[in-house]
């Protein structure tokens, strides 16, 4: 199997879908000859032409709106947000138009809005956000958060084929740091199926995106440092639909749970998961449910501040030790 980076895997997924289905096209800022701010679409306009890799004016409402209209007419647009932070500029069209159209009048809006999210690259307050939760909280939208290159390809394909609007949040830290075997052939990772990233029996860490690696790092260190704790890591892959069954099954097995995300704390996704634990796994819990998240502040720029902001393996390890000692 060829080794692909996370970003190459996304490109390959989109490329294959565009070969397979001529209704699929991509639009956004600087994605044509330039290949996009992160070079995700390198070579794509040359291959597919300017009608299918479409450079737009700097106007998120204009191109998200255009994608919605084209999708209702039967096309399959993919929108690139140059940075996920800027999705707030077109919030209205996503939550009021795309999310509600099927419910209101039966008009499906099969769009994918994708782009780089997350911190760790010193992007500062406007190039590091994790904006997923606003969309998780909007019925009618799906939210995908790939962690591996294999999943990145399989999930983008599932997102493109999905009949509903999908937000696909890539983690920019992973773009070129993750490289793994990715099958060159067509495969889909269905939305709503979590993945066990590490099997363990003592404690579950439920997480997604780049934090999967933070959790794995913590798990390995704990094993090496002779804590004798066997950590399970569950990678959610998509937040909507959510694989509640897999999450609950893990917690019922280990009886201890940490909810980890890079997004800020208050009303973050961990809060929703904690509520599900409380109602559906209460009898299985041997310790309190702990959240490890970023604190409630914007993502800062300066390296020591950003490091303090982002959940670190040490934070996860401390939480694990606290729960194991409970």
């Amino acid at each position: 199997m060829p080794m692909l980076t996370y970003i190459e895997a996304i490109r390959q997924g989109i490329w294959e879908e565009m070969e397979r289905d001529d209704r699929v096209f991509m639009l956004g800022e600087d994605i044509g000859a330039y290949g996009g701010a992160f070079k995700l679409s390198t070579g794509m306009q040359e291959h597919f032409g300017p009608n299918r890799i479409v450079d737009t004016p700097l106007a998120e409402n204009a191109f998200v709106g255009a994608a919605i209209g084209a999708a209702m007419m039967g096309l399959r647009p993919i929108v690139e947000m140059q940075f996920a932070d800027f999705i707030s500029t077109c919030y209205d069209l996503i939550v009021n138009y795309a999310a509600k159209a099927r419910y209101r009048w039966g008009a499906g809006v099969p769009i994918v809005i994708r782009g780089p999210s997350g911190g760790g690259v010193h992007g500062g307050p406007f190039h590091s956000n994790n904006p997923e939760i606003a969309f998780v909280h909007t019925p009618g939208l799906k939210v995908v958060v790939p962690a591996t290159a294999y999943d990145a390809k399989g999930l983008i394909k599932a997102a493109i084929r999905d009949p509903d609007p999908v937000l696909y949040f890539e983690h920019k830290l992973l773009y070129r740091r993750i490289k793994e075997d990715v099958p060159a052939e067509d495969y889909v990772v269905p939305l709503g199926q979590a993945r066990t990233a590490r099997t363990g029996k003592d404690i579950s860490i439920i997480t997604y995106g780049a934090m999967v690696y933070t959790a794995l790092e913590a798990a390995e260190k704990l094993a090496q440092e002779g804590d004798g704790v066997d950590v399970e890591v569950v990678d959610l892959r998509s937040l909507v639909p959510l694989d509640s069954e897999a999450v609950l099954a893990s917690v019922r097995k280990t009886n201890r749970v940490i909810l980890l995300h890079e997004d800020t704390r208050t009303a973050g996704f961990a809060g929703e998961l904690a509520a599900q634990m409380a109602s559906d796994a209460f009898d299985y819990l041997d310790a309190p449910v702990l959240r490890v998240t970023a604190p409630d502040c914007p993502v800062p720029y300066s390296p020591p501040l950003e490091e303090a902001f982002l959940p670190q393996a040490a934070d996860v390890m401390a939480a694990v030790r606290r729960l194991m000692a409970y």
Binding site: P57, D92, W105
Partner: protein, 326 residues
Amino acid sequence: MATVTRELGSQLLYHMKLMRELEHRIENLYRQGKIVGGVFFGRGQEAISAGSAILTGPEDVVCPCHRDLAAFLIRGMPPWVVLAHYLGRKDGPTRGRDGNTHMGALPLGIISYISSMAAIVPVANGVAFSFQYRKQPNVVLCYFGDGATSRGEWHEALNFGAVFKLPIVYLCNNNQYAYSTPVSRQMAVEHITDRAQGYGIPCQRVDGNDVVAVHDATRKAIARARKGEGPTLLECETFRMTGHSAHDGAEYVPKELLEKWKKKDPILRFEKYLLEHKLLSRRDIDGLYAKVQTEVEAAVTRAEQSPYPDPGELLEGVYALAEKDH
């Protein structure tokens, strides 16, 4: 000026009158408490949606706004279905999920607007984009008010439409008010056309109470769009002859203005035109109005027989899958 035939003349008059009478009935039903929420009317503005939408072919698309009922009727939405929608019944195009003219029907080429003013404009562009993408010779008519032209989405969309030379006609009903705000407080330029010029879009001010003028200007704009020459903006100058919505007494509108515009009523004016040009006789017109009355009464009866939606349907159609499960 295009010559209006007897056939076209009676169609235009019929649809303007049908819109007016249907809205009168809607207002009655609202005052009786049978229609809940809010209702908005296009009284005095019927020439705009009728004179333009009548020019669309089966594969063209209209994106009407809240004072454009004639566009829905011309595209084939039956009056009783419109009423069922207002009444929140099961047989409306949103099955009770939405009210007033927040509705669409893909098979009829009607794309629904949403409440956020101007959000439809970028979406309408997307419909036009799909025609361009598939090399279809079709056009989109996109409607909005003067107030909507202050929104960022409108400006982004006009620029986008111009850059892509989309096959679309932007139809502004400048009825001099946005809720209580007069145009002079809406913008520092005099006309909506001044705004369009900034985007390199050909534009024209049209007497919006003269259905022949609207028809003529739209015909030319559609021809341009079909030839691939890009969008046109038509500023149809008119006046809102009701409050903003049925609950609004519009005390802020000077009485003299209403008196002045009453004399320009588009239906009476067109009657006069038809009589003068000997296209229809008084008897023809009276016969046509009698037919409208009968149809409206039958529509009310049929709509009131439509059942309310079953609360068991509450969660249907948020996502495509849920619909399939059903």
